[in-house]
């Protein structure tokens, strides 16, 4: 059990700065997820917490002790790697007990701990096997077992599920979350998958190009994204961004359609260019809404996803390429080529500054 405090951490390889000053506070027992597109520096940050990567600037503290110069083994952390990083020549039991054996732990204690972890993860029958004899999901579980056996202050996960097939991924997601609820160990979890982040995290850290875009609870990020990057990254399908300008008590798209603002007009913004952000599920049919042509209909059973093309009066050829996504819960008989009239729910829409990307 421990808190982790990351202060202004930087990382450079040569002259290239990969992490550009990042600060995160992680409470004792919290499940924090670092999420962001590939290459944004998530793994690098996690590896700096682990001690596998030198910290170029700033401090990392575990339980108020700065660990910048503490070797990995003395940080009392356990890490689960994307490729599992099991010891290929050792049995599952030996893989899990390796750390304890290095510490000359008593045999009886090792057996007890390995059996407990194997019990939690359902690895009992596999203990005598070698990693190569296991499926991807089982290896994944062994990697977690190895971490549990250590009973560390902090768990670090680096994209642990990305080598698994979709179904197994959903199942392991639940298992990891259950494990956390049971052990209540502080956890830092890296993923590029925003759904993983949304479903598992207590707190999400959205990273982009070596900086933090926003930190918050999953639904908080969903409801109140700080900027266009977060708004577009969190949520699937992604939020629709419609460029235009603020005018009177509404918003006029570049195509000439009027969208409602529900009285939430920012001060002194008449005529100001802006981006209207609305999630696919926040449109509804409305007789006075904007006209749009149905391009594609994708029913998934529980909901229907539609790609629409706005037919605004002033819409030029470019504007017509700006397609919108609409997700509705009910089934629909709409066919490609038909025209529907839809309106966004103004209470759930956001306005963004087109230059800075910040929410207005």
């Amino acid at each position: 059990m421990a808190s982790v405090s990351i202060r202004n951490v930087r990382k450079s390889y040569g002259t290239v700065e990969i992490i550009k000053g990042v600060s995160i506070d992680i409470q004792d027992g919290e499940f924090v997820i670092l999420v962001g597109p590939s290459g944004c520096g998530k793994s690098t940050l996690l590896r700096m917490i682990a001690g596998l990567e030198e910290i170029s600037g700033g401090t990392v503290a575990i339980d108020d002790r700065v660990v910048n110069d503490v070797p990995p083994k003395d940080r009392d952390i356990a890490m689960v790697f994307q490729n599992y990083a099991l010891y290929p020549h050792m049995t599952i039991a030996d893989n899990m007990s390796f750390a304890l054996r290095l510490k000359n732990t008593a045999k009886s204690e090792i057996t007890a701990k390995v059996e407990r972890a194997a019990g939690i993860l359902g690895l009992g029958p596999l203990l005598g096997r070698f990693p190569r004899q296991l499926s991807g999901g089982q290896r994944q579980r062994v990697a977690m077992g190895r971490a549990i056996v250590r009973d560390p202050k902090v768990f670090l996960f680096d994209e642990p599920l990305s080598n698994l097939d979709a179904k197994l991924r959903v199942q392991m997601r639940t298992e990891i979350k259950e494990m956390h609820q049971r052990l209540k160990t502080t956890t830092v979890y890296v993923t590029h998958d925003q759904i993983e982040a949304m479903t598992m995290a207590d707190k999400i850290v959205v990273m982009h190009d070596g900086i933090i875009e926003q930190i918050g609870a999953p639904l908080d990020l969903y409801d109140n994204p700080a900027n266009m990057f977060v708004a577009g990254f969190i949520g699937s399908p992604a939020m629709n961004f419609i460029p235009g300008s603020i005018g009177g008590d509404g918003f006029t798209t570049e195509g000439g359609d009027r969208l409602p603002l529900g009285g939430r007009v920012p001060a002194a913004s008449d005529g100001r260019p802006a981006v209207y952000g609305v999630r696919p599920e926040h449109f509804r049919l409305a007789d006075d809404g904007m006209a749009a042509e149905v391009v594609v209909v994708e029913p998934t059973g529980s909901e229907t996803q539609m790609v629409l093309r706005p037919l605004g009066a002033k819409a030029g050829r470019e504007d017509r390429k700006r397609e919108l996504t609409w997700v509705l819960r009910e089934r629909t008989g709409a066919k490609p080529g038909e025209v529907v009239r839809i309106a966004p729910d103004p209470a759930l829409a956001h306005l963004f500054n087109p230059d800075t990307g910040l929410r207005l």
Partner: protein, 310 residues
């Protein structure tokens, strides 16, 4: 037309793996290879076996004696000593290059400056011809003029008699063998190290393994299959070793460094006792085969990345 159908059938047979369908008319194609194998491999061995059952001296009448030549081996002190010399020489010539070659491979596997150049220099002994090596080392071993005793004198040891004394001759020869063949072991082990996964080392770092423990519990077991390959190659090579021994000591002083190979050579080509020499050759061959089988079995057991399970 007939060509078409027969070639069709070949393709068909090959693709479903039904080789039994091959008609007898294909057998002639196997015959040349068969003749070569029988002529070059099978015949010499059968002939050697036959010779080993004869009393056969060059220029004398030959006479069938059954197993008498083999019985003679057990009372031939010179043969038994040669056996012992061979075993000691082989064991040391495997172990020393194995340990040193592994150490060198570990060193060359790190990011040394000028690594490529150093590695190139390091493997050069392997490429030298045995007679040249023998010449150079014989001079270096010289008790009065040799550079080795000079070097020892610098640290206050010696002088040693090296290959000129029965108690040091085998060790001295092992030194030459080690100097020449450590690079081979290094190359084999280096290949093994390059094939190792890197991720387990990061887990091990987090699990708290020191550098020594990472070597002992990860590297060593994971390169074991490669070490076994080196052991097999080295063992067979050292057992068969002849050129260096013959050119430096001819088995001397006395018979202090006479291995089976050298003794066999003397019996066959100095005493012209072809029958007895053949018996020695047969025993020697059986020894090599047995050793190879044991080593191959051990190598299979040492594999962690293949084998049992899948």
């Amino acid at each position: 037309m007939s060509i078409l159908t027969s070639s069709d059938r070949v393709v068909g047979a090959a693709s479903v793996g039904r080789t039994k369908r091959l008609r007898p008319s294909y057998w002639p194609f196997v015959v040349p290879a068969l003749i070569v194998v029988i002529g070059v491999i099978v015949f010499p061995w059968v002939f050697t076996l036959w010779m080993s059952a004869m009393e056969w001296r060059i220029g004398e009448e030959q006479r069938f004696v059954g197993l008498q030549n083999y019985a003679r081996l057990f009372t031939d002190v010179r043969f038994l000593e040669a056996m012992l010399h061979t075993l000691v020489y082989t064991a040391l010539s495997v172990l020393a290059p194995l340990v040193l070659g592994t150490a060198a491979a570990l060193a060359f596997n790190t990011k040394l400056p000028a690594r490529g150049l150093l590695r190139g220099i390091f493997v050069m002994p392997m490429m030298a011809t045995p007679v040249a090596i023998a010449l150079v080392w014989t001079m270096m071993f010289h008790p009065q003029l040799g550079v080795l005793n000079y070097l020892l004198s610098l640290v206050g040891i010696g002088p040693l008699q090296w290959v000129y004394h029965p108690s040091t001759v085998i060790l001295s020869l092992v030194l030459v063998e080690t100097w020449q063949w450590t690079p081979l072991v290094m190359l084999i082990v280096l290949g093994g190290l390059a094939a190792l996964p890197t991720e387990p080392y990061e887990s091990a770092q987090i699990d708290g393994a020191t550098a020594w423990q990472r070597f002992r519990y990860l590297t060593l077991p994971m390169i074991k299959p490669f070490l076994m390959v080196a052991v097999i190659i080295r063992s067979i090579d050292a057992l068969k070793s002849f050129d260096i021994l013959y050119t430096i000591t001819q088995g001397g002083p006395g018979t202090a460094s006479e291995t089976i190979n050298l003794y066999l050579y003397s019996v066959a080509f100095t005493y012209y006792d072809i029958g007895y020499g053949s018996a020695i050759a047969v025993v020697f061959f059986v020894l090599i085969i047995m050793l190879s089988l044991i080593l191959l079995y051990l190598r299979q057991r040492s594999a962690w990345n293949t084998g049992d399970g899948q």
